[in-house]
Each structure stands twice: as structure tokens, then as C-alpha cells.
Amino acid sequence: MSERYDVIIVGAGPAGLATAYFLVKKGFKVIVLERGSEPGSKNVFGGRIYSYVLDKYFSGWRSEAPVERWVRREKLSLLCKNDVVSLEYEIGREIDGYDSFTTFLSRFLKWMALRVEQEGAIVATSVRVDEVLFDDGKARGVRVGEDKLEAEYTVIAEGANTLLLEKHSLRDKISPKDITIGIKEVIKLGREKIEERFGLIGEEGLAQFLLSPLFGGGFIYTMKDYVSIGVVYRPLIKDQVEAKDVIEELRLHPSISKLIGDGIPIEYSAHIIREAGYRDLMSKPYGDRYLVVGDAAGLLLNTGFTIRGVDLAIESGRLAGEAIDRISKGEDPSIYVKLLRESEIIQMLKKFRGVPEVLSNHKIYTVYPEIACRILKNMYSVDESPITLRESIREATGSRFSMIKFILELLFMVKNL
């Protein structure tokens, strides 16, 4: 094909589009190839994006991006079979300064793609890249079916399923113990009901993180007219509900179904999440004329309470753009890793590297929520023999743990989250 581009980017997810955005701003001729029929048609995420990264790079985004609600209320809930223990934090700031917002990723990515195209890059959809063309270890472009497309640089932004990287032996298949499956349902509830039932006014939104012996981890995000509910499923835990039924455990839990039970389910989706954090980071996310960005490179941060992918993806896209610019001016490709290391991303991943271990400790889903529910149940049950907090804790943890062990475990958890 006569057409030649400076950079081919494989995947129109947050990382791929961000890389395109920063490169095209630097004057590169960029094309993004996306296998979905539209940007976002293959992406799944919980529901929240952090604002700081958009404030930095996308002027005017607050008025034009498809924001659903600004997160004002953060809630952590432990769901037992019937009881619930919750901790809630309400941010006391004016709404336009909020740190994060809820959105639908498919819509958000369409907006991002539009911005990228306005800058002059091409985003071609319905294009599945079958392989990266290598010539003596040097990436020369990609093959799509029978067509080949060449470029000076290739950026692999293929997401959590690293099919291309594995095909070219640039990365091993991830271990089953390092993945979870995000399983999500979008429910139409209507604005009024959402605001009334979740205690929200106007543009305010709620982000809720859930722990439960019934389904493990989960989340609820409020949108304008919709609610996204999801489960973070750990496939290796034995004797649990099958993945195909697990979302119903959440939707039909008495405390959840009274909020959303009369809503209309609109979409069911699922995607794996790479959970290993710092350990999963590619040691060499680059090679001769190619770079790896976003989830594919392992740039996903799980702080225990929030999974952050989109902001890191955008940040890594910026660094990849910077790196390609400098490589094209003669610097060594390792500059990409140097830039990543100097940035906050790697520091953050390092800081939270204990999290996967905590989260893979099944007790935090199975034992702790029950203990918490029992402690509070004991405290708030009123009969003729009231008990103290200490007695309550002892009663709840009693036969299973020593008090000291319980406290040590909790301290370990808190330290690593």
C-alpha cells in the first residue's frame, strides 16, 4: 500500500487514543486501528475516571466529555447475607472541582476518538490487526487480513488480553491467579429514582465499593439515568457461584434490590482485569520501533478500593508520545522506561504493590464482612443484656480467631491498601 504513516497504534482504548492524541499534537502522522465497529464497542470498565489527568491535557473536557455524574459520595459496604455494614464519605467541595466522575467507557472513548480526529489523526474501526510485521526484530507495521500497513513506529495498545504480544513472544500468557473478571450490568432506573434512593442532587454521583462472601468484590456507580453494578469475580476460588450467575447475587441482594430492583437491565458485559499490579508490569515495554502502552503493558493500578486504568493509560500514552518523539530525534528506545520511571505511574504501582496479595486473601471477602456485620449487629441489638464493644468483638470473632490475630490481619490489610 502506498500509504505511509509515522505511527500505527493498535487499539482505540484510552491508552491507544491518548498516545495518538499526544503524537499528533507533536506533528506525527498517526493512524489508530480498532477492531470494534466503533471506538469503545469492545471496552468494559466499572464506571469512574479521575479528572486530574484530563484537566492536564484536554482543555474544555468538563463541558464536552460525556460525564454522567461527578462523584461526591464514596461508600464502602460489607454485604453479609442479610446485613450490611457501610462506611461513607461525602466530599464537601463545589461540584466542578471534583476528583472523579462516572461515565460509560464506550461513550467516553467515542469522545476521545473525536478529539483525536479533530487533531488530525485517523481512527479506523472494524480493523483487526492480525500481526505486527517484524523485520529482524524491527517493527515495520502491521498485517490486517491480506493487507499490510507500514509505519516508522508501532504502538501496541491492545488491552488486557495481550494476544499480539503473546503471538510475538514479547509477553507470557498471564497466570490465572493474576486475573479477575469484571462482570457488569447496566440498569436503567431513571434520574428521579436514582437521586431519591441514593441521596444525590443534580450532578452528584455515588461510587460504592462492596465486599461480600456472596460474590467477592463488587461496585456500584450511579450515572444520570442508569446504574452500573458489577462484580469482580475471582475464578480460582472453589465452591462459589459460577461466573454466569454471580451478578444476580449482587442485583438480588436485599439491600441492593430495593434500590435498583425495579430498574430495567440494559446491557450485560464482562472483561478480564489484570490484577497483579507492579509484578505484572512489562520489564521492557518497548523494542526496536515499537512500544507497549496501557493495560497491555501492565499499567493498571488497583489500590484496593479503586481500580485505576483510564488515567494511567492516558498518562502512559503521553509518555509514549514523548518517547517516540525523542526516539525519532535519535535517543535510545529505553527512554520510554526512563520516562515511565520518572513519572508518578511506576511510583504509584510500587507503592500499592502489596494490594494484590491482600485482595487475593479470600478472608477479606468471606470472613471479615461477616465479622463486621456481627459486631455491629451485637452492638445495635437491644435486649435486656446490653454488651460493650469489646464484648461484641470478642463474641463475633470468638471461636474463629484470637483477637490479636484479627487485629494483626486488619493492620496488614490497611498497611497494604
Binding site: R35, G36, S41, R128, K244, I266, S269, H271, I272
Partner: protein, 93 residues
């Protein structure tokens, strides 16, 4: 409130199914596996056991999450993405 079956839930999501499957299963390898984690971990419930104890699957409701490929201990599931424009079409994501 009524529990929705996974088949009902899959009707919520749009699929543009290509006539050529994007998943293939190597039954030889599959028979060696006792765990059959693909069955419990597929969020679309696409893997089932037939009467003779063999794994059967369909690809038409595949959410393209990628779990089965990673979880299969024998590597019997080969999985590629459906060709461009086909497969699951998330409106919300």
C-alpha cells in the same frame, strides 16, 4: 424478584456474529483436564458439559472477556478476536 438466567441476560447485549467461530477447542487436550474451570468461569455460560462428559461450547454470546483462554490449564482453548467489526458490540461498556 426473579433471577435472570444468563441466556436472558445475553439478549441484553448486542452481538454481530460472524459465521466463523473465533474460539476453537482441542478436545484431545480438553479430555485430559479434570478441573474444567472454563465452565464455572465463563460469564456468558458458553461452556457446558454434554451427556458424555465432554465440554461443548458456543461462541455466539461471547463477551470477549478473555478468561477462558487464560484459565484453561491444558491450553486447549484457542481464542482470537472475531474479525473486525464482528462480535460483541457494547453500547455502554
Amino acid at each position: 424478584m426473579k433471577k435472570m438466567t444468563v441466556e436472558e441476560r445475553l439478549t441484553l447485549t448486542k452481538f454481530e456474529v460472524h459465521s466463523k467461530p473465533h474460539i476453537t477447542l482441542d478436545l484431545q487436550k480438553c479430555r485430559r483436564c479434570d478441573l474444567k474451570l472454563c465452565i464455572s468461569s465463563c460469564p456468558a455460560g458458553l461452556y457446558t458439559l454434554d451427556e458424555s462428559g465432554e465440554v461443548k461450547f458456543t461462541y455466539e454470546g461471547c463477551l470477549e472477556c478473555g478468561a477462558c483462554r487464560i484459565i484453561c490449564p491444558e491450553g486447549s482453548i484457542s481464542w482470537s478476536y472475531p474479525i473486525g467489526g464482528f462480535g460483541v458490540q457494547y453500547k455502554f461498556g
